[in-house]
Each structure stands twice: as structure tokens, then as C-alpha cells.
């Protein structure tokens, strides 16, 4: 049967169809839907781990116990899991193990655009790079086979345009899950130096065998047509190349590490001009040039930054400026993502903005607090860094003298992921920061996934629900106070108290995510004759608000279709002009 599904859905389907038994991961755009889809199938065990390292380690255990397994994460998640990966490559596997990693060229929803192909090279593991949903599905099968045949973890890499693009997939014959014997093998899995040394030699030898495999595998395909131009490419760039030059010769690499040197050499010898089209780093190009092969067009013409497209490919191949096409209309107001109407983060950042404190931020919806008009976040580095960075800031602030205590803001899921260890350090090392944990009981920015605080597993089963306050106390923090970020006055008072009190101080807001838990409240309205147009309420940056009228007579209007009645804006009004709208039929968004 044919289906139209995304690359993520295709990988989930492949995992279910090709004998997968254990899936783990941590949500991260654009990888998230993969595990959600495995859960939706309801046929295979799957779970959210608190972070990517735990996910990969659990997958390692599943493989040793004899079950085919996948760990899913976004590109930066591999940084967290890298400790496990770099030794996993030495131990190898029992049942097939796939590490699915989703890159985000163009940074549609990421803090950097690292190219995960570097990890395959670094860890000396095979990597497959599908170009569409059908391949994403097929490569799961190939991936398990390669992993088991070569006793290696295998990385399956997608990019945003694979993970989130939908194409037609035809299912193959299914493979029933089989659980192998538990592998009790000390020299294979205990990486003491003595065993590790043997293993290192083995992975070098394995890489040579994988290279041989890459030479003949149908995963790497030559499409020989017009030999004037030959293009080596992979992933979605392959389809952009086909769209641009339907008649060009193409060497399409489905296996992007290790490279098939002889195949590349032969292809290069058959074409007049050799071009390499790869998004992000010049990983093929570097290796191909090192083989002594002349590359006519590559990273000298195609940027290391962002995605490629047909215009970029044409301009590089023909040495022309990139076609501009029709230009977008200029001067339009931007429409960046924003806190949802009635999100609890709005109240918090309204006050943080007012107090002009230094805010060490983190990864989550609340990162939007950095945008105007709030501008109330001054760092966002990686998961958990809010707390650890605030600790470092506080230490140097003390040395500098005369500086205010820094504030860290972090969400529940990020706190479980890697905020806890930073807080432990702050308690242990006599730190002095105010930490605000926005515990909205979901992993919000990735679409509302379960986590150890939600009381449910990925598969919807009841789970033990961790409470953050006792956890924080157990880490060694004495001052732990509850916060209600919808109450601006109380929030301001609580933050001031936290700033004045010496030592680590933790505030926890427990208002749930209105989007995840579908919370609906009646809309607000403005009494136009009382509104002076002072714009104080607009500082809360809510899309339900806007100015109406012109010149000096501008007043604020609340869009009843959008307002969700949190009342944060009404607390900004000094003229008592904002009230609940009677009989409001609210929230169309």
C-alpha cells in the first residue's frame, strides 16, 4: 500500500516493519515525530529519555540484550550522547543499533547548524543519508543489516527537508522481531584499556571492510547520462540536483561514510566537469580532493551555511550570480514566533524585562523572552546551560563587586535533561544565583511531549511523576519558593526577594502549558473611553493586542478571537480600562 508520509514517519514505519523492539530518544526539531509515530503504531516499545545520552545508552543496553533498537535525536543531541557514541563504536553491537540524527541546515529551529556527517567520520561508523521518505523507510532495513553484519552502530542522518517533507512510500515485506541471546562478553563490552586497545584496531579494520561494502552497495548509485557535467551529492540535495539538471550524470551517495573511493574515481573519470553538491560542510569534497581527484565546482561556489536549492546549484554550476527571481515585498512587519496568548512565560518575562536583570537563558519556548519588546534573556547556549552559566556569572560578579545576582530561567524538561547537574554544582560550590524553573508539565517547544514530570509515558501509560521542589531541595537548595507568573505583583516581589537573599534561590512556577493542556479562558476587552493609549499593556507582547484608531486617538483593542483571558495585560493598565469580555467566544488559534 502506498502512503504519503514524512521522513520521520517513514523511519518510524521502517523501525516497526523491520523488527525493531526498543526505541528511545529525546524530543528535538526536526527529529521529534519519529518516536511519536512509533508510539502511535502501538506495536513496539518506545520511550522518551530525559536526555540523548540516556536514550543512546538505553539503546546500547537493548542491543546487547538482543533487540533491534533505535535512538532518535536532533543534531545537537548527539553532542550530549557523544560520550556513549565514541565508545559504542568500539564495543559494537549485538542486535542492530541505529542512531537517528536530524540536522537542521538553515537553522529553522536550532541554535547551530553542525553537520552530523562529521560525527560518522569522527566515530568511524557507517552513516546513511536518505534523500526522501521512501529511502528513509528503506534505509532502516539496510541500516539494521549493516549494523549487524559489521558489528557497528549505524547513524541514519536526516535533514529538516527529509524529516518534515512528505513523499510517497511503498511498504516492503515485514520482518518479525527476533530477540537474540543476551550477549555476555567481557572483552567486547568492558572498555578497560586492555580491551579497548584491541577494539581500536578492530574498528580501523571494520572501516576498511565498510569501504569495500560501499563500493558495491546499491546504496551508492551512479546515474550516467550526459557526461559534460557529473555531480556527486546526497540527501535532499540529490532532488534539487535532479530538478536543476535532469540530464546530468549523478553519483548519489546513500551511504555518506565511509566513501566508495574507487566508485568516485571511476565516476570522476567519466565526466568532463566534476561538481559536488553538499549542504553544510565540504566533507565529501575534502575527502575527494585528498584522493587526488580534481573537483571543478564545490564549496568555493556553494556556501557552508544554510540549505542548497535549485537556484544555488545552477548559479554554482554555471558560474553566474544566484538568480533573484521576483523579490519579496519589502518593509512588511515581521511575524516571529511569540508566546502563545495566555502563556505563563509572558508574565515572568514582563517582570524580568522591567527589573532589567541579567538573565541566563536556556532552550525552550521561554527563549522567546530574548526577543523585543521583552529583551529579557542574555544567554542561550545549550540545554541546561542557564543554571551552570549563571553560576559562573555569579562567581565572577562577586569578584567584580557591585553587581546584581544573575537569574537563570529554565523549563521542566530542560531541567530534567541537564539542568539538575548544574544546580547540584551551584549548591555544592556555594553559588549565588536566582533560578526560575518554569514547570509547565510538558516539553513545550517541540510540541508538548511527555517527560518525567507529566505522569505519563510516551506510550500513554501512567508513570511516576517527579515533583521538582523536593528534587531541588535534595540537590542541596534550601530556598525553594512557589511562583505564580500570572500575578505580576507577586512575581515581582518573589524575584526581588530571590535577588536580595544571599545564596542559591529557586522559584518554581507550576502553571501548565495552555497549548498542551488546551486551557481556555474568556477573552478580555478594552473600554475605549478609559484607554489613554499609553501602551503600557503592549509591553506584554501579546498578539491579541493591537492599536486601533489613528493619530492621537489611538487606543488598544483586544482581538477576542485570539485573547485567551490570562489577564496579564490588564495588570499593566493603570486606568482600569481592561476587563473580561462578557459572553466571549474566544480563542480561534
Amino acid at each position: 500500500m502506498k502512503k504519503i508520509i514524512s521522513g520521520n514517519e517513514a523511519i518510524a514505519l521502517g523501525f516497526t516493519d523491520f523488527g525493531g523492539v526498543f526505541a528511545s530518544g529525546y524530543p528535538g526539531t526536526p527529529s521529534t515525530e519519529t518516536l511519536e509515530e512509533v508510539a502511535r503504531h502501538g506495536k513496539v516499545y518506545c520511550e522518551w529519555a530525559p536526555n540523548e545520552k540516556v536514550a543512546l545508552e538505553s539503546a546500547i543496553g537493548a542491543s546487547i540484550a538482543g533487540g533491534r533498537t533505535i535512538a532518535t535525536m536532533k543534531h545537537v543531541g548527539v553532542n550530549v550522547a557523544a560520550d556513549a557514541l565514541m565508545t559504542l563504536t568500539q564495543t559494537g553491537v549485538n542486535a542492530g543499533l541505529i542512531l537517528m540524527v536530524s540536522d537542521d541546515p538553515g537553522m529553522h529551529s536550532s541554535q547551530n547548524e553542525q553537520d552530523s556527517r562529521n560525527y560518522a567520520k569522527f566515530a568511524k561508523v557507517p552513516m546513511l543519508d536518505p534523500s526522501d521518505s521512501q529511502e528513509a523507510y528503506d534505509f532502516v532495513k539496510a541500516g539494521f543489516e549493516i549494523s549487524e553484519q559489521f558489528d557497528t552502530p549505524l547513524m541514519l542522518r536526516t535533514t529538516t527537508r527529509i524529516s518534515h517533507a512528505k513523499g510517497i512510500v511503498e511498504q516492503q515485506e515485514k520482518i518479525e522481531p527476533q530477540i537474540r541471546d543476551l550477549d555476555k562478553n567481557v572483552p567486547k563490552y568492558v572498555m578497560l584499556p586492555n580491551f579497548g586497545r584491541i577494539k581500536h584496531a578492530e574498528i580501523e579494520e571494520r572501516l576498511l571492510r565498510l569501504k569495500e561494502f560501499a563500493e558495491t552497495s546499491p546504496l551508492n548509485r551512479v546515474e550516467l547520462k550526459d557526461t559534460e557535467l557529473g555531480i556527486i551529492t546526497c540527501g535532499v540535495a540529490y532532488h534539487h540536483v535532479k530538478e536543476t539538471y535532469p540530464n546530468a550524470s549523478i553519483l548519489k551517495l546513500g551511504m555518506v561514510h565511509p566513501l566508495p573511493e574507487n566508485k568516485i574515481r571511476e565516476f570522476a573519470s567519466k565526466v568532463d566537469r566534476l561538481m559536488i553538491v553538499e549542504e553544510l560542510d565540504g566533507i565529501f569534497e575534502e575527502q575527494i580532493r585528498a584522493m587526488g581527484i580534481n573537483v571543478d565546482v564545490g564549496k568555493d561556489k556553494i556556501s557552508f551555511c544554510g540549505e542548497v536549492n535549485t537556484d544555488i546549484i545552477r548559479s554554482a554550476a554555471e558560474d553566474q550570480p544566484v538568480a533573484t527571481g521576483t523579490a519579496p515585498v519589502e518593509g512588511l512587519p515581521q511575524r516571529p514566533p511569540v508566546f502563545c496568548p495566555s502563556c505563563a512565560h509572558r508574565g515572568l518575562f514582563t517582570i524580568l524585562s522591567k527589573l532589567k536583570v541579567f538573565v541566563s537563558g536556556d532552550i525552550g519556548c521561554y527563549t522567546l523572552g530574548a526577543l523585543p519588546p521583552m529583551g529579557a534573556m542574555h544567554t542561550c547556549i545549550d540545554m541546561g546551560a542557564s543554571i551552570s552559566a549563571a553560576h559562573g556569572i555569579a562567581k565572577v560578579n562577586e569578584m567584580a563587586g557591585g553587581r546584581e545576582k544573575p537569574v537563570a530561567v529554565i523549563g521542566d524538561s530542560t531541567f530534567f535533561h541537564s539542568g539538575m547537574t548544574g544546580l547540584l554544582s551551584m549548591a555544592y560550590n556555594t553559588g549565588n544565583a536566582l533560578v526560575i524553573i518554569m514547570d509547565n508539565r510538558t516539553t513545550g517547544m517541540t510540541g508538548g511531549q511527555e517527560n518525567p514530570g507529566t505522569g505519563k509515558t510516551l506510550q500513554g501509560l501512567p508513570a511516576r511523576q517527579v515533583e521538582i521542589a523536593p528534587l531541588v531541595k535534595a540537590l542541596g537548595i534550601d530556598n525553594v519558593v512557589e511562583l505564580d507568573a500570572y500575578d505580576l505583583k507577586a512575581t515581582e516581589a518573589a524575584i526581588k526577594k530571590g535577588l536580595e537573599t544571599p545564596g542559591p534561590y529557586v522559584l518554581i512556577d507550576k502553571n501548565p502549558c495552555i497549548l498542551r493542556y488546551k486551557i481556555r479562558k474568556p477573552a478580555m476587552t478594552v473600554e475605549t473611553d478609559k484607554c489613554t493609549g499609553c501602551r503600557a499593556c503592549l509591553r506584554v507582547a501579546c498578539m491579541a493586542l493591537g492599536l486601533t484608531g489613528s493619530g492621537d486617538k489611538q487606543t488598544v483593542r483586544v482581538d477576542p478571537n485570539i485573547c485567551n483571558g490570562c489577564g496579564v495585560c490588564t495588570q499593566m493598565c493603570k486606568f482600569d480600562a481592561m476587563h473580561e469580555l462578557e459572553g466571549a467566544n474566544n480563542a480561534n488559534l
Binding site: R161, T326, N561
Partner: protein
Amino acid sequence: MQIFNIVIAGVGGQGVLMASKVLSESALASGMDVKQNEVHGMAQRGGSVISFVRIGDQVSSPVVMPGTADLLISFEPLEALRYSHYLKPGGRLVYNKVTINPSTVAAGLAIYPADVEQQIDAVCTEALGIDALSIAREAGNGKAVNMVMVGTVMKQLPITEEVITAVVKQLSQGKGREVNLKALAGGAAA
């Protein structure tokens, strides 16, 4: 058949992705090749959203390039203008006339162009604006704006109305099914 390029634009939360799903499932049900692609990351409401649907005998790239869209469907006027350069010369634009303030306007940092409809007409001679929110409300739910928009463009697609209607029926459940079908029909009559 030549590839038919559709761009769907709107504001996060308006149901752009569901509309894209209806169109791509309908293309599949009609025996055509199709690629659909949207960029979604942040789950919050309020950001600008764009989605591509490409239909044809064989479709390679999932991305519609500026200047190549046969049809732009926008759920909001400002977004219609923002992505109007995706239209090819002579391409059609259908948009919902109900405005939603961007956060930049709501915060008083920018001004929503009062002449947005005139600006749309200036960049696209084939533009049609409808009040999709009213039609959706008449159908029973203001959230059905996406189905109204699909209904409005049905006649311009290389897919039959019967297939689209069947797909909407199949993809929606319970009370929502009736509302969606009404919204689709309401859009078609607009």
C-alpha cells in the same frame, strides 16, 4: 503533466499543515506523485508558517522556489503579501481577508499596513480575498478556516472536488467531519 506548485501560508495555529495534508493526500488518491514540505519547529502560535505542495507525474525536490508557484493560498492578508513573490507570472492568489496582528504590531513596534488588500492587488492581478472566518463560523467552527480555504481553491487544482471531499471526510472525525465538509462547501461557493 507539468508540476503544479502550491504554496500555503498563514499564521501558526491556523491549520496550514492540515490543509497541506488534505491536498497531498488528495493528489496521492488521484494517482499522482506528490511532495509536501513545511517548516515547523516552534510549537507556539503566532509565527509565520509556509508549506509547499508539489503535484505532478514525477516530483523531485520538495521545495517550491520563488517565482514558480501556480497557486498561493494564504490564511492571512499580510502573509499573502509576504509570500506573494513565490507566485509565477499569472499565478493565482486566494487569501483570507481576516487579519491577525503579528507580535511586532501587537507590541507597538511595527504598523500593520492598512492598505494590505490594495498592495496585494498591486502585486497580483489574479488575487481573490474572502472572509474565511465568517464562512467557517457559519459552518460551525471558526477553526475550520483551513477547510474553507481548500474549498475556495478546489476548482483551480488538478484534482477533482469529489476526491478532495472524500479525503476531508476520511481525515476528520465525529462532529468535526460535518463542520469540515460544510466549510469546504462554503469555501467552494465563495
